[in-house]
Amino acid sequence: MTEIWNDWLTHHDQLLGGLWVSLRLAFMALLLGLPAGLVLAVGASSRRRVLRGFIVVVIEIGRGTPALVMLQVVYNGIPVTLTGFVCAYIALALTTAAYTSEIIRGGLQSVPGGEIEAGRALGMSSFDVLRDIVIPQGLRIAIPPLMGFCILMFQATSLAFIIAVPELTSQARSIANNTFHYLNLFVIAGVLYAIVTVSASLVTEQVEKKLQRHV
């Protein structure tokens, strides 16, 4: 125990720096990936067959590709030189978009058809029906599972060590490579991840309760 504590005292600056990179990476990936997920979800619910088919293929490829593979495809595949952080951000955003589109599509589909029909009968355009009726209610239903996904995405930032992004896992590893205190450093990293994810889960629970109250 004291050894772990000593490692923490010695390396906490570097580890907290890594945590900060992880948090920023998750935040950026979600900031880009969630709206993209909404766009894909709307596309996948389209009545135009060709568009729908195309979007569904994109989603399935995105979901079928492990995040670790996605990271390396983006890192090695984009012809211009980008920093590891930007590559990781793009790759995780793509994964987020593909996964959340399915969650959001489920939410959109749970909006009763009668309400959509009422909107059409009132003369509202398809766009208005989507914007004013389907999306607000569908997203609300999707919020709890989306928050769960956000927590998973935060954990998935640890995969970015593979393309040398100085996030928490990669920092823990590089310190351990010098000190050989592998277990200690990964325990510390694990505790730091847990602090974030457990707090986020508590928030999710509160939000879920709040949403239920107003239904």
Binding site: G114, A118, R120, G123, M124, R140
Partner: protein, 257 residues
């Protein structure tokens, strides 16, 4: 000579309307017309095609063939229909559903004001003023700030009527507006509809409320198996139906009530 708008004219004309779902013929060459200010009760056994016919009038359901004229504007269904024509048709035709279909995430006031802003381009202030006027008219001004989920079924249906009226439709369609309601809640909805009829609104009402059909409608249309079986004045249809199937239907409904 100018024609006064008060003179009765054809508000709705359906000509040779056919509707098939796959190879199931649901409407078989239906033609009918409704004069302005007229209240038509559409009755008949379940599965006769009443809802489908009603939904063809505002093209929620697109007929397989035929033409639909509402307030002088004709739509040939086998031609392509522009989004603009469709929106114009639907803004002239209000519809009230059996299941109310209010937007549960919006307040009662917003349910009524939002479509006005989107469809007619009214300002929010204008739309809310109109919404409040209509809520007062259906006796629910105090519910403006509530969410629909907090209102009884009868109240929700009156709100749905107000929402449709807010777009100043020329014609109102009702598809079994009281079927999902307890009888006493149905009465408050029927009272609003009766008032609307008295004010001269053109209405087509699919209903199992024979009392309403008898007392309020000007014309009764009986449907069976996707076709009009017979039609006439309410007292004729109810007192001496010419078709045995109408007689059987009326007996069954009146027995239940």
């Amino acid at each position: 000579m100018t024609t006064s708008p008060a003179l009765p004219h054809d508000a709705i004309v359906l000509q040779n309307v056919e509707k098939q779902f796959g190879d199931h013929v649901v409407l078989n060459n239906v033609s009918m017309s409704v004069s302005s200010g007229e209240v038509v009760a559409l009755i008949g056994p379940s599965g006769a095609g009443k809802s489908t016919l009603l939904r063809c009038i505002n093209l929620l359901e697109r007929p397989t063939s035929g033409s639909i004229t509402v307030e002088g504007v004709t739509i040939q269904v086998d031609h392509s229909i522009k989004a603009k024509e469709l929106a114009a048709l639907r803004s002239r035709v209000g519809m009230v559903f059996q299941s109310f279909n209010l937007f549960p995430h919006l307040t009662v006031l917003r349910n009524i004001s939002l479509p006005q802003q989107r469809v007619l381009g009214r300002s929010q202030a204008e739309a809310e003023e109109r919404a409040m006027t209509l809520l007062e008219r259906v006796g629910l001004a105090d519910k403006a700030k509530q969410y629909p989920g907090r209102c009884s079924g009868g109240q929700q249906q009156r709100i749905a009527i107000a929402r449709a009226l807010a777009l100043d439709p020329k014609v109102m369609l009702f598809d079994e507006p009281t079927s999902a309601l307890d009888p006493e809640l149905g009465l408050e909805v029927l009272a609003v509809m009766r008032e609307l009829a008295d004010e001269g609104m053109t209405m087509v009402v699919v209903t199992h409320e024979m009392q309403f059909a008898r007392d309020v409608s000007d014309h009764v249309v009986v449907m069976s198996d996707g076709a009009i079986l017979e039609e006439g004045k309410p007292h004729e249809i109810f007192a001496s139906p010419s078709q045995p199937r109408t007689r059987a239907f009326l007996r069954a409904v009146l027995d239940r009530q």
